[in-house]
Symmetry: D2
Subunit: 353 residues, 4 copies
Amino acid sequence: MAKIQVAVLGATGMIGQRFVQLLEDHPWFEIGGLYASERSEGKKLREVMRVKDIHLKEDTLDRRIEQLDAKAIAGRCRVAFSGLPTEIAKDAESNLAEAGVAVFSNAASHRMRDDVPLLIPEVNPDHLDLIKGQATFAKGGFIVTNANCSTTGLAVPMKALDVAYGLCFVCVSTYQAVSGAGYPGVPSLDILGNVVPHIKNEEEKMEIEMHKMLGKMTPKGIVNANFDMVASCARVPVIDGHTESVVLQMDRTPSVPEIIATLRAFQPAPQELHLPTAPTQAIIVRMEDDRPQPLCDAYAGEPARARGMAVSVGRVRQSGKYTKLWLISHNTLRGGAGGSVINAELAKAKGYL
Amino acid sequence: MAKIQVAVLGATGMIGQRFVQLLEDHPWFEIGGLYASERSEGKKLREVMRVKDIHLKEDTLDRRIEQLDAKAIAGRCRVAFSGLPTEIAKDAESNLAEAGVAVFSNAASHRMRDDVPLLIPEVNPDHLDLIKGQATFAKGGFIVTNANCSTTGLAVPMKALDVAYGLCFVCVSTYQAVSGAGYPGVPSLDILGNVVPHIKNEEEKMEIEMHKMLGKMTPKGIVNANFDMVASCARVPVIDGHTESVVLQMDRTPSVPEIIATLRAFQPAPQELHLPTAPTQAIIVRMEDDRPQPLCDAYAGEPARARGMAVSVGRVRQSGKYTKLWLISHNTLRGGAGGSVINAELAKAKGYL
Amino acid sequence: MAKIQVAVLGATGMIGQRFVQLLEDHPWFEIGGLYASERSEGKKLREVMRVKDIHLKEDTLDRRIEQLDAKAIAGRCRVAFSGLPTEIAKDAESNLAEAGVAVFSNAASHRMRDDVPLLIPEVNPDHLDLIKGQATFAKGGFIVTNANCSTTGLAVPMKALDVAYGLCFVCVSTYQAVSGAGYPGVPSLDILGNVVPHIKNEEEKMEIEMHKMLGKMTPKGIVNANFDMVASCARVPVIDGHTESVVLQMDRTPSVPEIIATLRAFQPAPQELHLPTAPTQAIIVRMEDDRPQPLCDAYAGEPARARGMAVSVGRVRQSGKYTKLWLISHNTLRGGAGGSVINAELAKAKGYL
Amino acid sequence: MAKIQVAVLGATGMIGQRFVQLLEDHPWFEIGGLYASERSEGKKLREVMRVKDIHLKEDTLDRRIEQLDAKAIAGRCRVAFSGLPTEIAKDAESNLAEAGVAVFSNAASHRMRDDVPLLIPEVNPDHLDLIKGQATFAKGGFIVTNANCSTTGLAVPMKALDVAYGLCFVCVSTYQAVSGAGYPGVPSLDILGNVVPHIKNEEEKMEIEMHKMLGKMTPKGIVNANFDMVASCARVPVIDGHTESVVLQMDRTPSVPEIIATLRAFQPAPQELHLPTAPTQAIIVRMEDDRPQPLCDAYAGEPARARGMAVSVGRVRQSGKYTKLWLISHNTLRGGAGGSVINAELAKAKGYL
């Protein structure tokens, strides 16, 4: 079976490079072209790489960046993965869908559209069908978005618990890694030995996206979930891996062992469908006193292809009627490029590609 | 007026050195002796100092450490400030009280005793009278404790809001500095570029101490406060200053400007009594988008003597019926040695010394 | 005596703010105006401050930024302190000198001109007379530059040793703080938990500047010093304070105690003239095993006005015919704004202002 | 062919765990037992692991720690890899050699003995024959040591250049990772945002070990090399990977391209013999402006088994008659456990096992 040709948009940025890394040896997809702004046009990827610790093959590093042109891309690629900055993504992605390309985007521009799935295959695989309502669907073009990096790590275990016990209240405080701001991103003078308790629009995104993603798919579209959701977001001096402190109230208060069992038993669509980038275990529950930690757990997930795709949960404990837990997920893999790759895998498995 | 002679117990540790720093030029107190374990006996303070960036006078650095002996201390000092480790503090402090010494302690050993004030002068100055119930009070000996470092920073603004609006629910996630674990404390391999979501007993302490401190003083003792209190504690790679993400629910939901006005107008006992170590403003409310931050705000508090004694609050905002805010206070000053020094100042102002 | 009115150029940058901090209460100088690019024109300093942990007075924070105009500045200020970026500094500073203003600059643009002193008052106070050769001198306008931040900390003890023993070979490796790159400067992704062994042009600057500054003033100008000088420069995750590892060879090999005595006895011009920003001790020699360290020693220097102006030297030791030592100096005070302020003080003391 | 049974001594420490990691799937060796102090006896490795980010197999984690007993080890293992602390290593290793075990040690205790090879197969493979002079050799017992972690990374490229151009002078300043001090090792309060310019005995070790390792094997033993060697050592806030700034003088001054060619062409014994842990390229020369960096290059080395075993060199440049370069090698792999594993591979290849 021939692999599906895919374009990587914004290939020189933090998320773009993670796309390239995940697609280099993908069993279903093959990189058809790398695209970025005019500034990088014609240069080799190795000359414009901004993230030094992502190891790519020599061949890949020698590929040249092309300028983003919807028609040209449509002529060559069935799928586009977008790591474009929000302000450019809006029109560029619409143009691609118009040209018949299936766009899987990490940008926030289209996330809240009624006809665009804000998709995590572990959480709301049925939302994917929203694309049938997109005007460009008949030509094969559509847009699917992955969620914000901090929302993603939270949504996976919340889904498992919502199904089992019914969420009423979710309160989260984040400890977010600097890679979430891209490159050059956070100045070192701001974050060395410091905590910055503000990430622009992040709290709003988390609160809104959670309600959409845990919402119910109906013939008339998504009906948002209605638990109380309160998010506080901060940046900490960590390179990769968002840590989150979560406090929950559920319709009934399960015991700690029940919660652990529920999280461990969670086998959602990607695992059932054996999607290539799905980790064997969607949620890894740690029993140590002091885990998860970003240095140890950001890259959780097996087999090798799913490295950084599992969500690690630990320190599940109770305080009265409240349940507390900590979680970590990789912000540019699980909560970024990896999120869109697995979305495309779901679309393929469901026959949309 | 002659200054009151005071002993510093555990003078070679992180908190002990903060005591020495705060007492070097204190208007009411004078260091009568430095005490620590046998290991340091007879050595000069400069030889056993463990914290390099606290600047003390040459004379102070040349003082010699003496061995902890309750009788000898009682013969020379009216007051003892204790920075002893918990396991030693219990008996040592009891012996001193027995010998007629007024003990102001940073250790956790006696905090939850019914007859021991867990005291923050800004929060519960009336609790100080509990000492009259201590068996040793007639001889002039008693024990007063300051609260845990993370509890202290939280309790001050919570008190202001509880009085004004009535707290129902307090949910806090901490971002704690490494100095809170003393020296050598946290190994660098554990915390460089990392978050450790566990500090032993810290969550329990925060939940219990808040209820005692915001409790009501009655003729029969303290009646604990009864709002819901949920704490999650983590260590981050910051040297000084605990950051806390707080989510609140109150009996009525005040507007953001109301909350800010309430916090700014808070003028509790230490400010009314002009205690020497009290900052002009107990709570500093910051209006910037991204403050407070430990690098900028840990040492908040004026005048110079009160440096590190104010609590900085920022990003007050609402999410439905919940109020969110961030706060920072200095963990070894406001939440450690400074807490006990201001407790002793209150005791002096109230005629107990 | 009326204070001399001074302009601060580039007032919104890292060095500019250090100038403002040092000039707020200066006994000889008074801030006549703050200048920066058009972008900041008309805004209050507090709105464009980029460095959060420099504490300025409310009055100062309310001063408005004006646009850089040589004539307007000359009408109001006798002196200009320049924290301008190199590419703007060249013409702007020439225009100011042309307009009769005495310019003391931290920029590299004019440092290597034959008629411009590259001045550290502790090292080459006689070089100041070079200004008499500048075409604008007759109108009162001239340019004096301070040295590169890493060169400054090195040059002070090297001068003391050169005078005493004659330098033949100086080999230095630097461990430079991120504040040296200004704000936003070094991206956190580059430096968290990392070392970057490259700072553009820094090694070249160190090698060239040392030869000029330790050169001899002659009627025909400076004759460069001719010892071998080898510099290697790296950035480390430290906020303030450049650490340097130095290996020396001298005409004769003095003993360690001799070297320490020589460094301690060094009493150059600023100390003899009691310049306001000069520390009591130009070089502080530490005897501990593990000092100096940036966290403890970057701000060395007494009295308070001279904080961050002393150079700390430690671990003086021998390895065969080579002498090894470590040093630290504050890169934006001693090696930046403070360098130019003390240069202006020397100019005033010598009657040039 | 049956694998050789090997013991890991000090299995619970930083180096011990790296040994276990390297030996888990080794083609020639098989872990026969894990040994440590009484404190850990009988516990599973997973209970006493101190380094969280080394991933081992479940089977390995379930192995139990046994008490160090020379006879028992000799009865089961032909080889012992020692990650013991220096003070215990001396006698324990001698006893094992006495009992007929071939000991490959990371400890410093026996390094400077005349009859003990201080061995880096890339540098001085012929020194291995020294073991024939050890009294226990006839029974099959002997001791081979690997070099200090900072010496190792330096010695490899120095050997290549010494052979080609003759070294006269080597001046090195190190930027050492905290993992070099083991666990708990460096307290976070000492190193967060700081540089500590002192590592006990490290400079002495580097100066002495380099002369022995680059010395000449003669019938009468090693004749030390006699170039001038000056080392300055500091700790920086980096987790893994020692960075070194090197300044050299050689008998003739080769051009930069010549040096690069020499380093790249270096194909010493381990590469010629295809030892399993030898990287394809012993020295990797980087041409970027700002490499090597510990975050990107500490784990250099291919194939997978040789990860962290290559030395990365970059920024080769000249300053007069001096050559400057930067290098990085992994301190607990190349400069620790990996060093001893490759030593044992050489011994096996040469027929000593």
